[in-house]
Symmetry: C2
Subunit: 597 residues, 2 copies
Amino acid sequence: MRWLLALAALAQPVAARLLAEAAEKELEAEEEEVLVHYAIAIGVSLLGVTFVVGHVMEVYGVTWMPEAAVGVLTGLVAAGLCKATGQTHLLADERFDFEFFMTFLLPPIIFEAGFNLQVTPFVRNLAPTAFFAFIGTFLSTFVVGGLVYLAGQSGLCYPMGALASLTFGSLISATDPVTVIAVFNKIGVKVDLFSMVFGESVLNDAVAIVLSKTLLLFTTQEITQGSVLTASLLFVKIFAGSIAIGVAAGLLSSYVFKKLKTKEEAQNHHEHFTMEAALSFVFPWVAYFIAEALELSGLVAILICGMVMATYTRYNLSEKGAILTMRAYKAVAAIAETFVFVYLGMAMVSFPILSHTSSLNLLVFGLLACFVGRLHIPIGSALTNCFRGPGSSLPPISLAYQFIMWWSGLRGGVAFALAAKIYSDNNFPAKCGGGAELAGCDPNNAMNDSEAILQTTMLIAALTIFVFGGSITFLALKANVMETASGGGAKSDASIVNKELEENSQVMLQCDKNAFLLRLLTHETSYKQAAEDAKALEEEAFPSESHPGSSKGSRRPSKTSIELTSPPYTSTAGKATGQTFKGWLGGKLSTTTPPLN
Amino acid sequence: MRWLLALAALAQPVAARLLAEAAEKELEAEEEEVLVHYAIAIGVSLLGVTFVVGHVMEVYGVTWMPEAAVGVLTGLVAAGLCKATGQTHLLADERFDFEFFMTFLLPPIIFEAGFNLQVTPFVRNLAPTAFFAFIGTFLSTFVVGGLVYLAGQSGLCYPMGALASLTFGSLISATDPVTVIAVFNKIGVKVDLFSMVFGESVLNDAVAIVLSKTLLLFTTQEITQGSVLTASLLFVKIFAGSIAIGVAAGLLSSYVFKKLKTKEEAQNHHEHFTMEAALSFVFPWVAYFIAEALELSGLVAILICGMVMATYTRYNLSEKGAILTMRAYKAVAAIAETFVFVYLGMAMVSFPILSHTSSLNLLVFGLLACFVGRLHIPIGSALTNCFRGPGSSLPPISLAYQFIMWWSGLRGGVAFALAAKIYSDNNFPAKCGGGAELAGCDPNNAMNDSEAILQTTMLIAALTIFVFGGSITFLALKANVMETASGGGAKSDASIVNKELEENSQVMLQCDKNAFLLRLLTHETSYKQAAEDAKALEEEAFPSESHPGSSKGSRRPSKTSIELTSPPYTSTAGKATGQTFKGWLGGKLSTTTPPLN
């Protein structure tokens, strides 16, 4: 409802009208409530439609349209129907709301990504990821902003003002983690590639949010050396502070769960997995809201908290608790993710983005500028590869990886949410960038810069989701960057488990040489063992989900088959036919027996 | 945020002030945002504290304070600290908000209750449950309202007005499902008793909401024969409509899942449990919001939808999907439940309920009236027992059951939410019921009737949670109404599983003689088999959770042990020591082998 307040603040505060309205308010509030209920019911139904259509397309092996695009399309069609039938009131309630997006939709998605992320590849590729996210986004902001401004001033497209161009550059430079997760996790690219693309997209959101906030300050302030320095310091403070909060919350959760001893109790058949799952929700959300309250980045805090919880807390949960949390957060994130796309689709109708066509030429140049702006990928990769020579344990970033990363600059929710906020705050009220008549821009008839930013951002987001998202599977296959045996997303195949486990323990050991932290926070004694346990748990939680290619239980935990050394009983269980549960139980047991391939 | 609007509407709409405020609004909005983030962080932290303290108390076998009371106490202490340190702004954000409660907290709790409810005992005891919920609540409203009014008029306590007394009677007559679930599910009473107490509490909420809404109409309308008739018809419409929506959504979900064939795919190792869990969320929430939008009862709709989904949809989910949904909804409900209690505790400080002590004597008479009002329990039980003679398959409602049901009139969130709404709308602005000087009530110094209702409701809710909730375990033990072998909540013990399964299939068969519905909506062919599968699945999902008394795996599914007829392998797995996963896997397998007792 916050956007209602924002809109109210926008409106001319005419006293007489306000007085009259106050009397009507109660009645209106009731009608509004009914509308809100309808709007929620419709929104949730559209989620259902998206899930069903997405599932059917997956089963039939359709890859040219990602589920994200299905969501956008569903929202678009539904909002179009609303508009066509004159239900504009209803449509108003479906408008994209920055606060709702940031408070309810983004945290579960980012937390889940951190919680179910393989921490090791992320840490291993931290240097290039950080380069792409920090320096890259910074460069991209100025490249995109500059190109769009110059194109406008040369009369090639709608002439946006300089500061507006730069702000647009900052928000469009943020690749979107939601889209990246939705697209990449589905197709299952190699884990190193995924962690770079995903890591960049999460971190650069925070960069984009801070950068655009800072730039917006200059709409009311003078640009001085001092203010630029302050902005830079703010940057450092925001990242350091958010990381500190995330780490603190994560470590605290490990310690609390260790002391609660639910794992030991579960071994004595006193199950507490409901409580474990409920309590596990507390720490990341507190981290998120404390970071937001301190005006730091909640996204970074909750991501880091998720990663720390995956590294330490998970060992202190009972098996059922660990599996329940992994799966439940994944389901919640799937709901939030799909909601974002449906919401985006509806916003394309509910915001007046196509009411002015004079600035559509901006889209072409904006998109071109985005491609140029993402050239920080080869730059950063070249730099990284200087340190990844023949002596290094890490392979250099291949040209195929670079191409996929350059291509996969998927934009989405965050860029759009920032643009929607600029639109509703009307930060750039000047039409045609304040300079008249350039590029045929008629100040009497054109949209203003705020509207131009919203329009262009929204169309770029939709284009990248449909075009890039739709082509990524094909390209990833061509470029040979898919996980072998089409194993799943951020998870690796059983055949490379052992090698990975070795690596995992090495990376961890470098941060915590004597495993002091591990022993303090969990009951594990060595990182190697911990990594093996983690892998087994993960394979148990997500056996072969959503990956029609990987079948025959080839991705079962290696651990399990070590223990169950006497397979004959499986066939016994499997043969106990005539029972409905046969399939379930039989399947469950038999999947543990085939030899790893 | 809706209460902000409500409060704004309440305030005198002075034009000049509004104009000045509009300018400041943006700055305030930003400060407000920071405060809201702190408030959420604090609220979520208190959840964590409650979970931890509740768990520790459970482990140490403390029964005199239910976890619900821990939550209230936590909220109370935290809000007290806020107040003591002068953080009143913060406190304002923690105020109980009717809309938030009804939109975010209640639906998951009620849905989970329906989804994890044993449908058969509920159907079996539908007649007395309906009597208690409908006729009982109706009687109780007039008894409580009348007694409180008479006590006031006789000068025994604060003299509330007639309509205010009746409205108070209507909202305080609703026993609270959240408290009932929190208290009863923990201690594990017999399933028939639980389903009556719980069923009454869900249905009478809807009754109370409708009844108090109707009564509030008369604050501005004349009471005529016509208006009373309209109100009665509204009643029928609300219940019939809500049930229809819930059933429709539930059946649709079964059909959709059947057609998606995720269960069959899972048997071929194509897992889709994340999608199943995400999609399962769609149907009940759509039902809830459509019912609310049509001004019916969302609670009734979502409860019925949950029950239908448990009866049919669950068979169409893969095993992992079925278990994930059961557990995940339970965890979500646990979070929402605890939030309600923490919220209640905070509200006791954030609302000015103790600023006036002159109406505290109302508490005594209100509480007494509640006890008298709940005498519809023996009346309804006596009527029921007329039909449960020696020839009936159902046992009569024993005196012990009647006593527990009479005693367990736990009040909580719903009553309080209604009172908070009356307070913020200030429906009864008259002080001392409009008649001056009665019972020493000084109109210059006393609170008005709205405040008196809020104060009394809140204190009665707290008292019932602490006193009734704290004593119920002791009394249930004494009255011998606990599930044998201290089995869990709405779930029965393994020793009576077979008998129950027989009964289950009988009750279902009565509604759907040829299992037409079952065969249309699932792949099951007989209700008997379906009931057995359901039982096995349930026992798999909640092995022996939260019941320290039930150990040694005695509550494992009978089904499992039928199939796994060759136990020797278990010891093999159990002996594979030196592995961290030993305990988990060993435990998992060995629990299936001990003979049922």
